[in-house]
């Protein structure tokens, strides 16, 4: 049986020489494995080395040290010819779409198989099949300049898929698109992943993209992978500061200090934050504590969403009751396996 591993990085480093004396280490000892059929997200700020990392997979960039494997082939060691052949199995799309302006949509999509042994009719047939897949068959004979950004990216996807690749590399594929178009492109990518079983690698600086479709994620900071794992566990329990910062961009739970100042806590009131940390059955916590401990629970902020069918997020609430009641409530909440409780003290949640 074939190994489920499609791409593997082993201690990969990449150094760019800016001139004779100076050099810049873009990737530092990167180790990662991308499984077949998964949607793998690589997130980081610009300049973190994401684009270089993804380009090591199809050999556009060569690792200075370490090994990059595509299936059982070591990409760095392939001849130029073998590398071109392997690129047929690795599709790629870009932030700026990179459609050829002087070619029609159909010619753009056909470009990867233009020099193959396929006849013109067969090529046209495949092109139309791809354009159907991305929902743009009627645009076949128009030029890219007449398309919107989202349509251009669809054409780029069709072009990337015409060789039936095993993997599709997406380099900031949605970063130049508006939120609505981003959603439709992500939906299309998800559909391709489900229907064709194609592995996706998404490089992005938008946590929303990761949250929306990725199965696994690696966080890249200054060329180093600071954290990686499955999306849910990273989201509920981020370890690295950068990961936390990225996750905060998609969460509304971060109560700003200015909002907290407006809440005048009086005696016998306690501000707490409850966050879901596992996918065990969700119980109606607020109802339970108000019945069980006869305490008032006032929700200040709530942000709970489902991530891959599991609860994510939490609540910021004010508990109102006698000190003993509050203590009992906190004890009860802390005993719950699927939530994490933080108590507001001295201006922050502890």
């Amino acid at each position: 049986m074939a190994s489920p591993e499609l791409v593997k990085f082993q201690h990969v480093s990449k150094v760019f020489k800016t001139n004779k004396k100076k050099s810049h280490e873009v990737l530092k000892d990167v180790n990662l494995t991308i499984q077949k059929g998964k949607i793998f997200g690589i997130i980081g700020y610009s300049g973190a080395g994401k684009s270089t990392l993804i380009r090591c997979i199809n050999g556009i960039e060569k690792a200075t040290q370490g090994k990059v494997f595509f299936e059982d082939k070591e990409v760095n060691k392939l001849s130029k010819k073998a590398l071109r052949q392997i690129r047929g199995q690795i599709g790629m799309i870009f932030q700026q779409f990179n459609l050829m302006p002087a070619r029609t949509i159909a010619e753009n999509v056909a470009l990867p198989i233009k020099y193959s042994s396929l006849g013109k009719e067969k090529i046209r047939e495949k092109v139309m099949e791809m354009l159907e897949l991305v929902g743009l068959p009627e645009k076949a004979d128009t030029y890219p300049s007449s398309l919107s950004g989202g349509q251009k990216q669809r054409v780029a996807i069709a072009r990337a898929l015409i060789n039936n690749p095993k993997i599709l590399l997406c380099d900031e594929a949605t970063s130049a698109l508006d939120p609505q178009t981003t959603q439709s492109i992500l939906k299309l990518l998800k559909k391709l992943n489900e229907r064709l079983g194609i592995t996706l690698v998404l490089v992005t600086h938008e946590m929303q993209v990761v949250e929306d479709i990725c199965d696994e994620i690696a966080v890249l900071n200054k060329g180093k992978i600071v954290e990686q794992g499955d999306v849910y566990s990273i989201f509920v329990n981020p370890q690295d500061q950068l990961t936390k910062r990225f996750i905060n961009t998609t969460s509304k739970l971060n109560v700003s200090s200015s909002l907290l100042k407006t809440i005048n806590l009086v005696r016998n009131q306690q501000l707490i934050k409850i966050t879901y940390i596992s996918d065990e059955a969700v119980v109606p916590l607020i109802s339970i504590i108000s019945i069980k401990f006869k305490i008032k629970a006032n929700i200040i902020v709530g942000d709970i969403k489902m991530l891959r069918g599991k609860p994510l997020g939490g609540l910021v609430i004010v508990l109102d009751g006698e000190a003993e009641q509050i203590a009992d409530t906190l004890k009860y909440l802390r005993g719950q396996k699927n939530v994490q409780v933080e108590v507001y003290q001295d201006g922050r949640f502890l």
Partner: protein
């Protein structure tokens, strides 16, 4: 009509055969040296773009040699170049005078400039498109043909227009040293014999020639832009 022409251009009318021959000679010079230098410049332009540092076939030696040769020839004023080339021209064309003798110096005179023009046209190709070509597995020469050249048709036709206009100018200069053509006619009749109408007639024909080149160039350039 003939009477009108004779009145306006008396000295051209009396030497009409020579004038017509001069037009033909100019056209021959432009067309022959234009086609040959276009092919050469396209070749050198492509070579210099693909061999530059970071290019798809980066090669320091080839790039440096080409770059230096182009700079060398571009720095020699054309009229001096013609004189300097005479021995070589004799070997290659068998003669250094007449249309036959002008083709070689014209090619040497215009190709370096033309190459730079083609180079800048090809360099306008978006790096992202080149990278895309590599990503989809095109060989370097498929990349040159299907991306660099195909995407630069409009720019190439624009710079070719500019170059052809310059080339028409050079054909007039080469006429002075025994090349024939309209330059020769204007100098012999207009300048040396002080027949001003001959000069004006040459200007009008050259103006028409330049306009035709410009119109065709603009048309192709527009047609290739989508």
């Amino acid at each position: 009509m003939d009477a009108f022409f004779s009145k306006l251009f008396p000295n051209v009318a009396s030497n009409l055969d020579v004038f017509n021959a001069a037009i033909i000679q100019t056209l021959q010079m432009v067309v022959i040296s234009g086609i040959i230098s276009f092919l050469l410049s396209l070749t050198f332009g492509i070579l210099i773009v693909v061999t530059k540092g970071g290019g798809i076939l980066a090669n320091k030696i080839v790039w440096n040699v080409l770059d230096k040769i182009i700079n060398l020839f571009r720095s020699i004023p054309f009229i001096i170049l013609i004189a300097a080339l005479i021995p070589v021209t004799r070997i290659i064309s068998g003669t250094a005078i007449g249309v036959k003798g002008t083709i070689f110096p014209l090619i040497i005179g215009i190709t370096p400039f033309f190459t730079r023009q083609i180079e800048s046209a090809l360099n306008e190709t978006d790096d992202g498109l080149i990278e895309t070509g590599e990503v989809i597995g095109l060989t370097p020469w498929q990349l040159v043909w299907s991306v660099y050249l195909h995407e630069s048709i409009s720019s190439i036709s624009r710079v070719t227009t500019i170059t052809l206009v310059s080339l028409i100018g050079l054909t007039a200069i080469v006429g002075v040293v025994g090349g024939g053509g309209l330059g020769d006619f204007a100098i012999q009749y207009g300048y040396q014999q002080n027949q001003f109408d001959a000069t004006i007639a040459c200007i009008i024909v050259l103006l028409i020639l330049v306009s035709i080149v410009q119109i065709i160039g603009t048309f192709i350039s527009k047609k290739a832009t989508h």
